[in-house]
């Protein structure tokens, strides 16, 4: 199958303050008191993967590890569990970052599903090795919701970088 080259608009450079803001908001979302609600999306992981794909020189494994550690402590989980998961997620996102943007949004979402599921699998294996019980299949529901949110999320996060459409008759392109 040959990929259809889609018209891509040239984006403005991303602002560091916007990256920090979105990551902080996603972290806040994760730390909201969710009780034991099933299938709450791991928004931090999704936003992190988004920036690892779109800004691989600014957001990388180090930031992923730090965010993971904050979540570990905030959730009272095994220290290093999320840190490890997010590091691997950032690495996987970095590995696919050149390729994934050629796909239409729903295929990107499939890529993300795979990435998020592998991160969750890793966390699951670690916790079971540390002596926890299998929490049930609904544990993976968050990843599917995250993947479904991916097209919307990537549109929203790219919004500040969109150029205003200025019609210039004299410009050649």
């Amino acid at each position: 199958m040959q990929l259809q080259a889609q018209p891509q608009r040239i984006l403005l450079p991303a602002k560091v303050s916007f990256i920090v803001l979105t990551l902080a908001l996603a972290l806040l979302f994760n730390l909201l008191p969710w009780r034991n609600l099933v299938g709450v999306p791991d928004l931090t992981a999704t936003v992190l993967a988004f920036w690892c794909i779109h800004q691989p020189r600014r957001v990388g494994i180090g930031i992923a590890w730090t965010l993971g550690l904050l979540l570990d402590v905030g959730n009272g989980a095994l220290l290093g569990q999320y840190a490890l998961g997010y590091s691997v997620l950032a690495f996987l996102a970095f590995a696919v970052h050149r390729r994934i943007l050629w796909f239409p949004p729903w295929q990107q979402a499939l890529h993300m599903l795979l990435l998020l599921l592998s991160t969750q699998m890793l966390t699951l294996v670690i916790r079971i090795a540390a002596g926890a019980d299998f929490p049930g299949w609904t544990y993976f529901a968050g990843s599917f919701i995250c993947a479904a949110l991916w097209p919307v999320l990537s549109f929203l996060l790219l919004l500040p970088q969109q150029r205003p459409e200025i019609v210039d008759e004299n410009r050649p392109i």
């Binding site: 034991n36 220290l79 490890l84 670690i126 926890a132």
Partner: protein, 302 residues
Amino acid sequence: MDHQPPPFFNRGPAPLVRLTFFVSLAVLLMVLDARFRYAESVRQVVALAAYPIQRVAMAPVDLFNGVVGYFSSTAALRAENAALRAKQLREAPELLQLEALKDENNQLRRLLDARERLPRKSVFAEILYAARDPFSRKVVIDKGSQNGILAGEPVIDDVGVIGQVTRVYLLMSEVTLLSDKDQAIPLQVLRNGLRAVAYGGGESGTLDLRFMAANADIKNGDVLVTSGIDGTYPPGLPVATVARIERDAAYAFARITLTPTAGIDRYRQVLVLSNEAMPPRPAEAEPPARKPGKPKRQRKAG
């Protein structure tokens, strides 16, 4: 020949090297945390850094509660007030007698030369949030070591025991609920004084009463209270009721499932009881030599 690439192509270490570094750091932390519990100081520092974020995360919920509270009608408040008044009135005779009974009880205990039951100090706390960790059952409360909370203290609500403080930060504490898989609590059947130990059932939110003989005198609906022999939980606090008993001749023990009395989903207010009223523990005997390479898992209670 010392040829360096120009600095504008420099992207630092390769991704795989970075991944290896951070993964080994995380694994190191995990091993320290899970096996040796050396990572507590790291956790304390990170917790202090995360505290402002957590408080901000609580704000929308507080706002929502505030708005809901503002719009709750006067009629509902009046009805609740009336119900509370009636409850207070119903309980008044027992409360009035309680002081007299306490005195009498202490006097009788003195007569019997038994130790007096000492009052415990308690700290009022609110549940901030339930930790979002699908592998364990914990809640975080808003009082920490600054309010004199210590790890190991029991936590109760108005109807029964909900769990035990397992980790204390400066301004918050983690409470492990009784239904957590690694939590155990010594109990006593209220009806006949039979003692047992209940373990958390994990995901199901129930408790398991293990190692009870198949012919033990226990029935559906029996109320279990803390026995107090562990020195952690004060005796006589309601904990659970028997929900189901399976007696199978193939096993030496009965399978008994309990439903916890206290519900953490209903109220946010809890009481942390202090341990300090307990007399000092007798000097422990020389602990048996541990096998190297396989450290024993710690049980918090029991």
